[in-house]
Structures are given as structure tokens and as C-alpha cells.
């Protein structure tokens, strides 16, 4: 079931094209990673979903209906460029943003109390924002984003400015939100967190979508018949035996074993590799090398740009 459907969106600015015929489908209840190099058009796409800018052509469908201004109330958006009114008191400010999202004052008050308690920041309620550290402000900002329990959450670089402990708290909360049924769009350059959190990803480069789908499917798609072979024995003899059927990409020592990364060529199977290897040493293990999102990102973007 796709929750958000982006159909053939194009957007031009005065001097450049930000999005070129981009179509995406964000499934319900999943975390969707929106990836791409700087300036690829991610922020423009997010702004279109938030109804901040209007596309030149194309449509956005939200829960099976064409996106309109009312849907904005069901979206929680944490922009990359974020901030708060410095001179305003923290609690008052959180209340203000909640009310702008259509919450009643009393309801917002109740929920804010819950979250301030949960994050152990009750004592900040009457402090001005400028008295808080940057990390503290980010926490308040996160609460403001999710407070109205939106169906769709958009996080643009949510972990920037947080220490590792707070990053973990936040990751946990994001997974909780997913468990409670929210659909989450997650845009970041931190590929490790993408691996950890995302179910689906889309990669945008030079204002075009170049890749999208389920994370595992994509990884399968990008694996290149490369295996790590762990063994005890002489590497020199092994390398002397290398034929045109496989190529050694790298060799390293790990826990007293030699680990050799081998790429199989010409339809060679792993069994053939293993049987050829047996005479040179004791095989400890072998595993297929699945490319990381990071590798895929670099491979695709560099391939595109050349």
C-alpha cells in the first residue's frame, strides 16, 4: 500500500532545474530513505510534499487523495535548516507551534508535558531558547515535529548536532513512531543510519531519480559476485594459482586468518573456487560481500556523473 505517491514531478527555478520528472512511491508504515548528493533536489522535493512550493508539473497523492493545504496538518516536518525563536520561552514556543499545526491548547499542553517528562527536560519549560545548548534545542524541535502525531513524518538530517547517546534515544523514538503506524521519510547523508533504519530508499542525483526500491532488493541487485575467503595458509601459493576465472581484489589479515576478497568471473561458482583453494590451506569460512548503501551511493552517483 503506498501512502504517498509522487507522480512525474518537475520543478524549475530561475537558473536551474531542481527536479526532472521524479516519481516515487512511499509505502505506508515504513521508513523511506531519501538519498542524494548535495544540491540533488531532495529539499525541493520535501518542500513540495510540505506544500511549501508548488511543482511546475506533476502531482502528489496523499493517502489516495490529491495533496492539498489541509494535508499539511497531518505532516510533521523537521527541516535541515531549523531553529527556534531565541527570545521566546521553550514551553510557550512548543505550544505555539503545536497550535499552528491545529492542536487545541489544552491537548497540546498535555502531550507536551508527556514528552518533556520522557526526555527529562521539564525544567526547561520556562527557559528562553537562547539559554539552551544546541543539542537541547534540537530535542525541543524534535518534540515539536512529532507532537501532533502526524501520519507522515519527514526528517531532514535529524541526527546532526546530537551526541551518540541522544542519537540512540532519537533512533529509538523514530522506530517507535514507525511501530505506531507513522510513515517516515528520512533524508540524510549518514549512510550507517540509513542501513539501520530504512526499509526503502530512493536515490536522487542531478534532479532525477536514479534508483529506488526495497533496501534488501537493491543490495541484491548491486552485489557483484564478490566473496571474502577466510583461510589459514600460504597466500603466495594461492595467488600464484589464480586463473582468469577469478580476480583477487584485496588481501588482509584478520584474527590470525588471511582474508582474501575474490571476484568470480566467467560464471565460476563458489564450489569451483573452494575446490581450487583446498590444496593451499585450511579454509575457515567464506561469505558473500553484500555492498553497503554507502558503496551503492558512491557507485551510482560517480557512475552517473562520469
Amino acid at each position: 500500500m503506498s501512502f504517498l505517491e509522487i507522480k512525474n514531478i518537475s520543478k524549475n527555478f530561475v537558473n536551474h532545474q531542481a527536479l526532472n520528472d521524479v516519481s516515487l512511491s512511499v509505502p505506508e508504515g515504513k521508513i523511506f530513505g531519501l538519498l542524494g548528493p548535495n544540491g540533488a533536489g531532495k529539499t525541493t522535493l520535501i518542500r513540495i510534499i510540505n506544500h511549501i512550493t508548488v511543482p511546475d508539473s506533476g502531482e502528489v497523492w496523499f493517502e489516495g487523495k490529491k495533496l492539498d493545504a489541509e494535508h499539511v496538518l497531518q505532516i510533521g516536518y523537521l527541516p535541515e535548516e531549523r531553529g527556534l525563536y531565541k527570545k521566546m520561552k521553550t514551553g510557550e514556543q512548543a505550544l505555539y507551534f503545536a497550535q499552528l499545526k491545529g492542536m487545541k491548547r489544552s491537548e497540546a499542553m498535555e502531550k507536551l508535558k508527556y514528552w518533556f517528562q520522557k526526555f527529562e527536560i521539564e525544567s526547561w519549560w520556562n527557559k528562553k531558547v537562547e539559554e539552551l545548548s544546541k543539542g537541547m534545542q534540537q530535542k525541543v524541535q524534535f518534540i515539536v515535529t512529532i507532537l501532533h502525531e502526524p501520519k507522515l513524518l519527514i526528517f531532514d538530517e535529524p541526527f546532526s548536532g546530537f551526541d551518540p547517546i541522544n542519537v540512540n534515544i532519537l533512533k529509538e523514538e523514530i522506530l517507535n513512531l514507525k511501530k505506531n503506524g507513522s510513515t517516515i521519510i528520512f533524508s540524510t547523508h549518514n549512510m550507517a543510519s540509513v542501513e539501520e533504519l530504512c526499509d526503502n530508499i530512493a536515490l536522487i542525483n542531478n534532479s532525477k531519480k536514479v534508483l529506488d526500491g526495497d533496501v534488501n532488493d537493491i543490495k541484491q541487485q548491486f552485489k557483484q559476485n564478490v566473496y571474502d575467503l577466510h583461510f589459514k595458509g600460504s597466500f603466495d601459493k594461492f595467488s600464484a594459482s589464480v586463473t582468469a576465472d577469478y580476480k583477487i581484489e584485496s588481501v588482509r589479515q584478520e584474527n590470525g586468518n588471511t582474508v582474501c576478497r575474490v571476484k568470480l568471473l566467467n560464471g565460476t561458482t563458489t564450489n569451483q573456487l573452494l575446490s581450487g583453494m583446498l590444496q593451499y590451506g585450511e579454509i575457515v569460512g567464506m561469505n558473500e560481500v553484500i555492498p553497503s548503501i554507502n558503496d551503492i551511493f558512491i557507485q551510482v552517483v560517480e557512475g552517473e556523473n562520469n
Binding site: H51, V54, D56, I75, P79, E81, R82, Y85
Partner: protein, 436 residues
Amino acid sequence: MNKIALIIQREYLARVRNKTFIILTLLAPLLMVGFIAVIVYLSTLKSDKTQSILVNDHSGIFKESLTDSKTVKFSFTENVDDEIAKKLITEGNYYALLIIPDTISDKRLELISENQVNISTKLYISKLIEKKLRYDKLQSMGVDPKVIDKVNPEVHIRTIKINKEGKEEISSAEAALGIGYVSSFLIYMFIFIYGAMVMRGVIEEKTNRVVEIIISSVKPFQLMMGKIIGVALVAFTQLALWIIFGVIIMFAAQSFMGDTGSVQEQVLQSQNMAPEMQEVMNNTAFNDIVAPIMNLPVFSILFSFVFYFIGGYLLYASLFAAIGGAVDNETDTQQFMLPITMPLILSLIVAQTVMQNPEGPAAFWFSIVPLTSPVVMMMRIPYGVPAWELILSMALLVLTFIGTTWLAAKIYRIGILIYGKKFSYKDLWMWLRFKG
């Protein structure tokens, strides 16, 4: 709309609670009173100091005519040589030396002093001399001295306006001028202060990066209008507080200084008037101050003031908001500020000429053109303005501020989301044509 109301509320409270607002609101009237007090005090100081003037009168006919006043005191030499008299200035510690030649018709009088002689002293002396000369001349032509005494040159003009029904009203150009000037200056001042406040508010949201969060909940237009209206309410609050303080201070000052009548009497006495005349003058003076104010079109002045105050503010505030949207910080505002502040400053300059001729072509055109009309029209209204001119001017103002608000909203909504770039007029023009 509920969200605009929320924004207005926040913008209003954030500013009214601000310490600088509270301090300025309380302090400004006190400062005004302080200034006036200092000026009054200084002017009384000056009049206490008498200037002694040594007169070297070669003609010998002015001894009786040169009468002392509060500030000027005359002493006479025994008709000595001018060089000796000049030395006497420093020896006798005189303020100045007046040299009167034998015959005045062909020679000028000289007033010699170490410092620049002040104008009022100079005028006082020349007035006395002229009076004496006129008297002598008339007498030599055979006019009876009694007749000369009876000619009273003091003239007091009362201006009376006749309305269409033929009823006479006492009008006063001074009262109209005063009210016109105060109200146009207030409008000018508030547009400047509060327009700039809107601009700073927009820039603050941009530099704080808070704007994108708000824009994801409300439309940029709502945010801009909420801010403009919120700041307008702050301006009204400040104006209302000042009026209240002003009234309180006026009453306080009145009970403190005693009733103003005694001051008036002093003034009249110093003009050397007969006591029975004073009574008459007292009454007319009162009438001349209060009656004309009552006879001015009070309702239309008040209505126009509120209208032009709001209209002018909305017009300029939306332009200021657009500038705020187009720049990153206040130092970048200069290039865009000029075309907005120019007509505003121009209108204050034009107001000076309107003061002298409230019905001239300059007054007409500048009170019709929307960018200058709020300030210039207020200058004209106390003198009475034809209804059609007023309606035309107001209609144009409304149309223009709808237009500028629309333009400003376009620039604003694009500008607020772009950081770290400096824009030229060309960029702004592109934004206006941009579908966005």
C-alpha cells in the same frame, strides 16, 4: 482565520513584553517633557541677563527715546570721541557700544561689541530709533503730537472662515497647522519605526531558521500578514499609552505650574499694554486658541488620521517585509531601503511647503499619490479638503496597498527560503514573474 490570529498574538506579545518596548514607551514621554522643561528653563535664564549698552549720541536727541527693557539697559556718554568710547566698552564692562552720528539721514548707526550682538537686541534698538525718527518727522510736518500718540500700530488679525450656509467661524491657521503637522509627523514616525520593526522580524525569522518550520504549517502570506498586523497592534498600543501618559502629564504639569492665565498676564504686561486692554485681550486670546480647534473638522481629522495611519503603515510595512524576505541580515538592506525611504522622507519635506500653501499643486499631487499621501494629506486635512480629493486619495491608497501586499508576498515567499545569497533588483523582478 485562526492561524493568522495565533501569529498576530505571538508577534504582539513577543514585542509588547520586550523590555526595550516597555522602557521606550515609559521613557519617551518623560524625555519629551524633559526636553521641553530644559528649553523653557534655558529661555528664562537668558532673559534674566541684562545687556548694558553704552550710547555715544552725537545728535543728543535720543536720550529720552532709548528706554530700558528687561534685557537691555542704556547708559549715555558725555558725547565723547568715538575712539575713547570704544575703549570704554572693555573698561566699563559693557555689552555693546551704540554710536549715533550728528545727523542720521546720511549716516548709519553703528553697534560695536566684542561678541556678535544678538538679533533681538538689535531689533529692539532699531525699533526705538525708528519710532523716534518717525515721531520727529511727523511733528516737523505739522502733525499734532496727540494724534501721533493715538496711532496704535499694534494689530491683531483674527481669521474667520465662512462656510456655505454663511455662518462665520473663527478659524486659526496656526491651530490647523499645528494639528496637521503633529499628525503627519506621527504617521511618518510610526511608519518608519514600525515598518523597520516588521523588516527586522522577518530577518530574525530567517536568520534563526525558524521560518521553514512555520511555513510548513501556514502559508507565507498568513505569516507575513500576521506579522504586519501584530506589529500594527504594537504601534497602536504605544500610541494609546503615549496619549494616556500625555494627558496625565499635562494635567500634572498644569496643577504643578499653576493656571496658565497668570502666564498670559505676564506676557501681556511685558508688552506694555493698558490694564483695561489686557482684559479684552485675555478673552480674545482664549477664544483664539480654543475656538478654532473646536471649529476644525474634528471628526474628519480623527477619521483620516486613523485611515492614513493604517493605510500608510500597511503600504510600507508590506514593502519592508519584502525587503526582509530578500536579504539575510540587516546590513544588506541598504540597497533596497533607499527607494522605500525616499518617498517617505520626500513626503515630510513636501509637508513643509504644504504648510505654506495647503491648496497648491504640490499639495494636491503629493496628497493623491499613495506613497506620499498618508503624510501629506494629513497636513492638508485641518485646512479642509474637497471630498472628491479625499476619496480619490483614500481609494488609491487602498488599491496600492493591496497591490504592494500582493507583490511583497511574492517576493517574501521566495526570499525567505533562500539563504546565503545576495540579490539584485533583477532577481526580485524574476521572482515576481515566477509562478512559485
